[in-house]
Point group: C2
Chain length 212, copies 2
Amino acid sequence: MDNTAYFEAIFEPDLLQEINRFGVLKHFKEGDIIMDYGKYIRMMPMVIKGTLKVLKKDETGKEILLYYLSSNESCSMAYSCCLEAKKSEVKAIAEEDVDLIAIPHTKLDEWLCKYPSWKNYIMRSFNLRFLELLKSIESIAFHKLDDRLISYLKEKQRLSGSSVIRVSHYLIADDLATSRVVISRLLRQLENDGRIILYRNEIKLLSSFDQA
Amino acid sequence: MDNTAYFEAIFEPDLLQEINRFGVLKHFKEGDIIMDYGKYIRMMPMVIKGTLKVLKKDETGKEILLYYLSSNESCSMAYSCCLEAKKSEVKAIAEEDVDLIAIPHTKLDEWLCKYPSWKNYIMRSFNLRFLELLKSIESIAFHKLDDRLISYLKEKQRLSGSSVIRVSHYLIADDLATSRVVISRLLRQLENDGRIILYRNEIKLLSSFDQA
DNA sequence: TGTTGAGTGTAACATTTGTCACCATGATCG
DNA sequence: CGATCATGGTGACAAATGTTACACTCAACA
């Protein structure tokens, strides 16, 4: 196991041992479905490496991106579902290759009382999830598609660490719950404004992109 | 204190005593602001009586309704904020007269370990809040305004227990983050379809309203 | 080499939602 | 009674987004 430095910094040794003993290390490849609608949730995932995205769909099957989960983050929504063995309302897909530790829900509860650092971690995770969902609502409710597209591209840039983004117009349209034609139209506009350059399956953000 | 039967049913006597000792009973009148943007949160509210609504606003001040909180429900978003003494991202207004018990955050933590029924209550609350936010996202992202208006009216009907809803077009427009003219237009359409009757400050849902 | 499929550009049009302007009505209060 | 204000009805138009249809390019591959 690598990349656990963050956890070593915030958890006491006893807890780390328990995580090692009871947590189940899982690997997913880019595109793998980590959690799907309607499946029962019995574990909470802690992401060690990589990024996954969390989606919600409507009755007709159209999906929208809720947020990303990266290294050291957890999906506490999963935790709150464990209690009553609820079915999932969301889907999670590996955006890149992902390593995560799945913690069984019996331990989640036990550690809550036993380790203050665990309780803090969980509470911070709850708070982060709420904030992400609120951000998502704000974006959908108050911002026009062109703004949302720009935010989307910036987030991709941040996650990949590169200003060249490998993604098709179709995929963007799916994540923003609109159609490909609309996205192509807006991207073309951004290109005309000299903020990006479009290639096949690739978008290059220019230095002028960050304006406004 | 009245209307605490629900809590008596799910909490053990010891915990009820503690709630009585450390919880602060507060009253709000219809329209009172219970929590506002940017204020620090140090308590978690448990609603005893009445209904309050929770809003989020954008930079320009436009607000949108997130969800309602009614009897026996708690805002666990507040709880998760307590840990780091965060500022509120949302506003809460009394929809009708409200009685609630405010629990100081030190006790929140303490009881989590001490009383399993409290932990269950809190976890269920977290889960409910997540589900409400997801419902809100689904509504905004996937449904047209006419559907959202219908859902809004149904929710009002459910909360008031009456098919006569006292509300102005302006208020609906605020809650749905749109303009009065748009709402008036859609309501007129619903009236033409024979599903509602419009009066001043009042909307009557007909029996045909529940269709489709 | 030719075929196939995914990705993209683009026009034309429909629908939904937002905005502005103006008027009408009913409530309140001096 | 008359002034004022909140509420809501309506037309006209603008802007944003959705939809359909079709052409073109590129990569993969038989």
